[in-house]
């Protein structure tokens, strides 16, 4: 089959505005959108710029706006989106070139929520043990691959780039509800900020966008409720 692939391109050296380029790409229904981008890059225009690394949905490099929703190009099959495909860079982050966005603001928010184990007790000789139920409590949010699909699907984030965004909250959730961690109070203080969890308007775009199936809105609400009822 032939796919009409429309790509929003932007070259900072020559363009003042982004433009749409259209390519006719031979494809198999089982090809991924990433394969189409490769085909263009390798056969038509080597300057087409995008990130990808693993090509198997685990590194989180190639989140982009595909036919109007945030998806990983390496996970979306042509047969799921049809023969008219529009690919655009993630929204709400500065575009460096073509589909390549500057992820720094995203990671800056991520770093602010202390996304690592905080525990001042002397390290035990073996593991820090926890029950299966305690492990289960935050299982969903351990799956995040930091692709930014959720954060850049959020209308609040498009309008207000100071908002921490769903991904940072998901990664805070991962440790706030971990029984081995002692930094919950610190993280909750960070997220109680006016650019924190209260910015969330429950549009559920993030939950729909997450390529790992994380219940993102649920996680955000759990953090809100931890603040509201002062218990973790």
């Amino acid at each position: 089959m032939q796919v009409k692939l429309r790509v929003r391109r932007f070259n900072p050296e020559t363009d003042s505005e982004s433009r749409i380029e259209t390519y006719d790409v031979p494809a198999d229904p089982m090809d991924r959108v990433l394969d189409l981008l490769h085909w263009v890059k390798w056969n038509v225009d080597g300057s087409l710029t995008f990130r990808r690394s693993c090509a198997h949905g685990i590194c989180g490099s190639d989140a982009m706006l595909i036919n109007g929703t945030n998806r990983l190009a390496c996970k979306v099959l042509v047969r799921e989106v049809g023969d008219q495909i529009t690919v655009e860079p993630l929204r709400g982050l500065p575009v460096n070139k073509d589909l390549l966005v500057d992820m720094e603001p995203f990671f800056a928010s991520y770093r602010e929520v202390l996304p690592y184990l905080v525990n001042d007790d002397p390290a035990p000789d073996t593991e820090r043990r926890q029950s299966q139920a305690d492990r289960e409590r935050f299982d969903d949010t351990t799956k995040c691959i930091l692709c930014a699909a959720c954060t850049t699907s959020c209308p609040v984030f498009w309008a207000d780039d100071e908002y921490f965004g769903p991904a940072a909250i998901v990664n805070a959730h991962r440790f706030i509800f971990d029984s081995r961690d002692q930094g919950a109070a610190q993280r909750l203080t960070v997220l109680n900020d006016k650019e924190g969890v209260w910015r969330c308007r429950t549009t559920f775009n993030c939950t729909d966008a997450c390529p790992r199936g994380i219940k993102v809105t649920q996680a955000i609400q759990e953090v809100k409720r931890a603040l509201l009822f002062r218990k973790v």
Binding site: R8, F10, S16, E17, S18, L65, N67, G68, T69, T86, E88, P89, R91, P94, V95, S153, P155, R201, T202, T203, F204, N205, D208, K215, T217, Q218, Q221, K224, R225, L228
Partner: protein, 124 residues
């Protein structure tokens, strides 16, 4: 710079959020007008009567229908959003809650629409 491209294809959650905002702004504008017409009572009862009389106009009647619909939507949707915070099952049940909301909306919105609509038709 990057231009906003295609519309983001969000689902019910995003569109109810958009409607919530739009209806909120509409209600705010109504309140301005409402404060002004009520303030006319301080001017004189006659002035007030004259302005209120213009509200019999069928066009204003249509606006009234719009107002009823918008207020009912905004109120019910607001309750749903509040439940996300105060009911632990809220997020998990969001689809079902939206169904309940839609049914309640129809039940509550149809009577005023019919009643005001009848007035509008009378005045035509």
């Amino acid at each position: 710079m990057q231009r906003l491209g295609t519309l983001y294809r969000g689902r019910e959650g995003m569109w109810t959020w958009v409607l919530h905002r739009v209806s909120g702004v509409a209600i705010l504008f109504y309140l301005f007008a409402h404060v002004v017409d009520q303030a006319l009572l301080n001017v004189s009862p006659e002035a007030y009567d004259r302005v209120i009389d213009t509200y019999r106009n069928p066009f204003v009647g249509l606006l009234e229908i719009g107002l009823a619909v918008v207020v009912i939507f905004h109120a019910l949707n607001g309750l749903r959003i509040i439940l996300f915070d105060f009911w632990s099952q809220g997020v998990a049940r969001q689809r079902q809650m939206l169904w309940v909301q839609t049914v309640l909306f129809l039940v509550l919105a149809i009577p005023p629409v019919v009643a005001i609509g009848a007035h509008v038709v009378e005045e035509l």
